[in-house]
Every structure is written in structure tokens, then in C-alpha cells.
Amino acid sequence: MAQTEAAKEKPTKPDDDSSGPDVSGRLAKEARAKILAGLSQYQPAPDHAITRQDIVDNRYVIQLKQPLPDFDTPLNKAYAVIDEQDPDASLYALVCVRHLPQRITIMPQVRNIMNPHFVYPIAASVAELSTTGEQFFVIIFPRPKGKRLSTLLAEKSLPLHSSAFIRNNIFNPIANVLHQFEELGLCHGHINPENIYFGDGKLTLGECVSEPCGYSQPAYFEPLERMISHPAGKGEGEPSVDYYALGILMLMLLPGRRKFVSTPVAELAAVIAEKGSFNTLTADESIPDTYLDIIRGTLHDTKRDRWTDVQLKSWVAGKSFSVITPTYPIEASRPMHFMEKGYLNRKALALAMSRNWGKSTAVLRDGSVIRWVQLSIGQKEIANGLERILKSCGGEKSTNAKLNDELISRSLTMLDPYGPIRLRKLALHVDGLGSMLSEIFYHGEEEEMATMNDVLDFDLANGWADVLKRYLDVLLNNNMSNMLWKLDRLRVALRNHSLGFGIERCLYELTPYFPCQSPLLEGKHVTTLHQLLIALDQLAPRLSKEHDPMDRHIAAFIASRLNLGKNVRIQELSTNRALASHRALVTLKLLEQAQQRASYIRLPGLSAWMAAGLLTVIEHIHSRTLREQVTTHIEACADGGQLRPMLDIMRSAEYVARDKLGFDMATLKYRQNMVALQTLANQRVIKTHSTQVGNRIGYYLSLVIFGVTLYFLYLSGGRF
């Protein structure tokens, strides 16, 4: 998508045919050629943030020639690392992909866990790799000993028949780590045999910060509400998610067929929604009594009933709980028939409806679902809520496609409030919006992009929060409240298609540490304005001939970092609408504000690149003399490294006013001269005029003759 957007970005031409005579065009071309020639000689200063290639935190040297496939994740590649200050340390580096955000916000907390049974991040920074010269975010971890648990399970080399081994060597260390996660209110999100290492009798739980929470987690390790979400839209999750995964891990360790591993996710989710997790996942399996309690407890579908650290500790200590086998989650006295199948709980119906999107409209519009909720389930409030949604989405007879989509989505949230927000083929949690957007931008699917646009535009997140507050008395935490407030604000930004706004702005607002995805910055990992400006300055000699230093991603990135709320316009030029919102001037203003925020770092490459781009704006000035003056000024500022002087020249209202007044006067004068020339070319006019003049001269001459006659009459005494 990023590339598609970039393709749309073409150099802006003047809005009207205001091109001046050839002389001026030549002048601009000559000035541009001169600036670009100077720019091609420019040697950008090296990025001081990256002093050496393949190094993290000025200490950890990535050994690119020693890949460690055992520590690869489905997304990221692992390499050996040498710690320059402690060469004996056994470490590895994960080189993270640029198109998905890492869990940078939780990294400081996770770093403090420092549990010997957990691969916690030691250091992380952007590093330039010598193999490709590209920049990546790299995280350094202590290298766990042994092999992946999945490998050991396949090799059947672990004494899994021993409950003491499972309890002490596998379960206890993981529970220990999860206890620390729970204390921090965090979710690991990646507990599965692929991310657990075992060696020398010691278990180590793998890392969890290199990708969005649960992105690579197999679906069957997730509770239903996350299982049915898009991997990138699962959100941060809660500690209870990890306990569920722990329960699944337990099942994996026990002998049995584990049919659920090979069951398609959609099918598995449908059965879980109908029968509950425990009943589905343990069907036809014999679970040893020793593990029945913990599996029943951790696989509980209701979060508040699911086991946590407290029960786990007691279980590890040997306490027996006698947990009752969960029953089927039946809510209704009579089934709701949909797509030739009967459903006895709202969650299962919601899942079925989301899988048959187009068919759901009918049962929602004709009130069947409302009646079922009211009469069969006895939830009058929910039924009223569904009725309100129906009315707000066009009532029973509406056929508007967008309203249909909104109706289905809001109704599904009402039916299954803990489930993800669902819209057409998309299912995601509110706190997973940012990573979901980044995934969609990476894949560039227009349909998904449009759906995401609608998720934000319909304000489904606030609708979901409203359902939780109103019907379930759930208090949202601060992070979620901030997120909802931000989403409310972003709806305005989303509808604004100017530079710095739109869906791209949503991406950077929702993922604060996400690198700029502009195709211009390919190979660069840019997360701050300072880095962006340095990167553009370095790219100037290579890209200035064919590209603007701005696209929708860069604009949105800058606007997000500057927290801009209004369209970027040159207010001083408001009398000239074309100039006030001219792309090149908006670009200049955005970059100037970024440079201001970055303490006016000197950027000779970028200023020359910008100057060359600004010459297109000059075509909007009508007066050749003014064009020459402005061109000269811009040329003078081109290699100064500061954008402010250029902006000051361009936003000087005086020249715009002079140009406008002069142009109006010139037009009037031209018109008058045109009329005068037409008059002069008319032969009838010259004839009429010469007749008038001739008559008058003849008249004056006759007066002279008459006067002479009178004079002579006087002299002759009347006898002439």
C-alpha cells in the first residue's frame, strides 16, 4: 500500500495556466539545474547516531555471518552477538522487520524482569547492517541454552511421563515468569513450544517484544476472543491470556492426539464458541487426574474465572482444587437459527454472523436477533441496545451497504462484547488497531484499507467501550481511555485528505515508535524527526532529481510528531488560495517545523532539494521581475542548510499582494490597449476623424478669409 500511495504522489503542477513567458521558464530551469548540480556534489555528513555498522548500543556487535536459525522467530532473523565489554557473554540479536511495530512501550518493564527462565531484552537500538546497508531495529537477548521445546517434544526426549518433571522443570519456571508479568499487568503473548527452550535441565521462556503481542502465536494457544482476531490486531492482551496458553501447553505436553492442532482455526473457533474451550480441546482425550484441575482452571472461557498466579502457586505447592468441568455455554432456552444451524449463545451466533457477513443483515433488520435475545435469553437491556443500533443504522428497511456494515458490526459487539471488533473480513481489538494498520499498509490491500478506514470512521471502538461500560459495568484502564480519546480525535484527521492527515496519520498516531514507512526512506529506520531530517538530507543527492522530499507518509509522520491539529497552510498567503495550500509550500512548512523541533540542525542537502522543488511554486507568480527576484533569493538560500529563510521568503505576503495588484492592473491595461488598437485599426474611425478635423480647419480658414475681407472693406471704406 505504501508503494501504491507513493505511486499516486506525483510532482504537483500549478493549478492554472499561469506559466510565464519562456524567459522565466528558462530562468527557473536554469536555477533548478544549478541547484541540482550543486546538490550532486554534496557529501552528507554521516549519521552520528550510527557510528559503526552492525553494532547495537555501541557495544554489541552483530555477527551477520553467524545466523542462529534456532532463535529465529516467524518474522525476525537471529544472529550471534559479541559483547565488546564482556566477550564471554552468550547473546543473540533479533533483527526486526520494519513493517510491524515492536513492543517498545513495554520493553523497559520487561527488561527489569531479569528472570533466569526468561529471555529478556538486554539492549535495543537501530543498527545499520553491513550486508545491505539498511537500518533495522535490533534487540539483544541472552542466548537460552538447549533446544526448542517443540523439537524436544518431536524427539520425545523429555521425561514427560513424570509429573514431577512437568511440574518442576516446565510448569514452575513458566509460572514463575508469568507471575512477574502479571505483577506488571503485562501479557507475554508468545507462550508456545516454539518459543520455549530447554537445556541442561533448565527451561527458558523466549522473548516477547520483537513483534506485536501474539502475532506469531498459533491460534489454538489463544482464548477465543484473540483466536478469531487478525494476528496483527490481537492487541496487548491481559495476563490471563498467558495462563490460557499455559493450559494449552500443558495439553501439548500430555500424551494424546491433540486434534485441535490440525483443525482449521475457523472450525475450531466455532466449536469453542459453542461448547467452550475445555470441552472442545479435551474432547476424546484422556487427561490424567493430576492435570485436570490446572487444565480446567486455565482453559476457562470467562476471564474472571480463569486461574491466575494465586491458584497456580497453590497447585504447584500440591493443593487439589477439584475444579468442576465447565459445561457448554448455553444462554438461550431456544436456539436462534441462522444459516440452517441453531445457536444457543450470543458468542457463537456472533461468530457465525461475522463469518457470513452478507447474510447477517436480514436477521438483524427483521428483528429476529432482537426477539431471540429478549425472549430466549431474557436479556431485555441487550435487546433494547440492539434495537437502538438498528434504528441508528437506518431502521428495518434500509438497504444502504455502509449502514448494513455498521449495523452488523455494532450488533456483533453488542452480542459478544469481549470479542474483537468485526467489520467485513476484519476482526481486531481496539488496542491492536495500530499494529493492524501497519500490517495493512505493508500488504497494501485496498479492500482491507477501506475496511480499516470504516472501522475508524464508524467509531466502532467507542461503540465497543460504550457497550462495556453500559451493559457490563467494565471500567476501562487509563491506556484504553487514552486510546479511545485519541481515536475520537483521529476520526477528524481521517476525514481530512490534506498532507499530514488521512489514514497515514492514524498509523503514526496509533503506533508511536513505529518507523516512517515512506518508500523514499526504504532501508532507513526512522522513528524521530531528527532521524527523518538526517535521512532526507542524506538522500537528497540521489532522489532530488525525480522526487519531492515529501509523501503522505512523511507528512503524516511529521504531523504526528508535531501533534498538528489543523491543515498546514501558509496563512500569510491566504489571499492567494493556490499558493497558500501549494504542495511545495506545505512541504516546506512541514519540514521547517520539523527542523525547528530538531533544534535547527544544518541540512544543506535537504535545503537544496527543497529549493529545487520550490521553483515550481514560482510559476504561480505572474510578474517576471518578481519571479527573478524570488528565484535569486531562493538560490541564495539553497545551500544554507536552513529552511526558515526560504519559508520567510515564500510566505512574504508583500510580494503576493504586489503581484496580485500588478497583475490586475496589467490585465486592465491590456484590455484597454486591446480596445484602443481595435479602434485604431477601424478605417471608418480614421475617415470620420479626418472629416471632423478637415471640416473644422476649413471653418477656421473661412473665418480668416472673412476677417481679411472685412479688413479690406474697412480699409477701402466699403468700396472694395
Binding site: S24, Y670, Q672, I686
Partner: protein, 189 residues
């Protein structure tokens, strides 16, 4: 370089002495009435008619036969008056004054005490008198034609110079302000 923002005027003819005359000629050529209001014209016409009547009565009393001579002698001028459509009637005036210049000497001679009206009667009988009187009127007409011809020649030269000046100004405007000036001038007014 001259300042492009200083050059302006609302009247395309204001900067040229012939401007008003050209404008008037253009208006007349286009058939646009630029005369005085009709009421003023009617009053003036009435006024002059009354004056002519009183003058005629006075001349009949004073000149007697001489009045007949005046009427016959100034016949070309009277014809010119009715033929001249120009509101200012310069053609008529020119013929009138030339005609009068030839008529007056005969009248003045007749008014001498020693000559008397008899001399005028003799003059009226002589064809030479009428040749002189009517010839002067014709000479007035010829003189006006000649002046028109000369004026045509002079104005053609002046118009050409003016045209060149305006064309130059247009080129300068295009050079300074671009072709959009022409497009806008052609479409927006």
C-alpha cells in the same frame, strides 16, 4: 528595469492628445450619439430661428432690394446648412463665411450714399457677380475637402504611430505578466 507596478491608467486615450478626438470619432463611426441633450438642442434651434427671423425683418427694412441679393447670394450657404448633418455644422460655417466674404463687398457698395441700391441692381444683373458670389461658396467647399484630405494624411501617420506604441505596450505587458494577462483580458471583461 522599470517598475512594472507603476504603469497604469484607466483611460486608454488619456495619455495622448488625440485621444479624446479619436474616441469621439470612434463613437460617431459606431453611430453612438455624443451630442448635447435633446432639450438643449431644441432650445438652441428655436433661439437661432427667432434671431434669424428678427435679422431678416431688420435686413428687409434696411436693405430692401439688398435683402433679395443677400438671400440669393447666400443660397449655397443655406443649402449647405440643410445638407450638413454634423451637429457643429463646420462645413456649413466654412461655406457660409466664404460665401459672405464675396457677398459683403457688393452690399457695402450698395449702402454707400453715392451708389445706392441702383448699383446693386446693376450688379445683380451682371453674371460676373453671381460667378464671384457662388464661386466663393464653391471655393469654401473645395477648401474643406482639401482640409479633409490633408487631415486624413496627417491622421493616418499619427494613428500608425499610436498603434505601434500600443502594440509595444502590449508586448511589454505580456513579457512581464505572461500570456495569462491576454487570456484574462479577453475573457473576464
Amino acid at each position: 528595469m522599470s517598475d512594472p507596478f507603476q504603469e497604469n491608467t484607466n483611460d486608454p486615450f488619456a495619455d495622448h492628445p488625440l485621444g479624446a478626438a479619436i474616441a469621439r470619432a470612434a463613437a460617431i463611426a459606431a453611430g453612438i450619439e455624443i451630442d448635447k441633450p435633446e432639450e438643449v438642442t431644441r432650445f438652441a434651434r428655436m433661439f437661432w430661428r427667432v434671431i434669424a427671423l428678427i435679422t431678416s425683418l431688420l435686413l428687409i427694412i434696411l436693405l430692401q432690394i439688398g435683402f433679395l441679393f443677400v438671400v440669393l447670394g447666400l443660397l449655397p450657404a443655406f443649402i449647405a446648412y440643410f445638407l450638413d448633418n454634423d451637429p457643429k455644422k463646420y462645413l456649413f460655417k466654412a461655406i457660409f463665411y466664404c460665401n459672405l466674404s464675396a457677398t459683403l463687398p457688393y452690399l457695402s457698395r450698395a449702402m454707400m450714399p453715392d451708389s445706392g441700391p441702383a448699383s446693386l441692381e446693376l450688379a445683380m444683373l451682371a453674371p460676373r457677380t453671381w460667378v464671384i458670389v457662388y464661386g466663393s461658396a464653391f471655393a469654401g467647399l473645395l477648401m474643406v475637402w482639401l482640409c479633409r484630405f490633408l487631415a486624413y494624411g496627417t491622421l493616418t501617420v499619427t494613428y500608425t504611430a499610436r498603434e505601434q506604441f500600443l502594440t509595444g505596450t502590449q508586448e511589454k505587458l505580456l513579457d512581464e505578466w505572461g500570456t495569462l494577462v491576454r487570456k484574462r483580458a479577453e475573457t473576464e471583461f
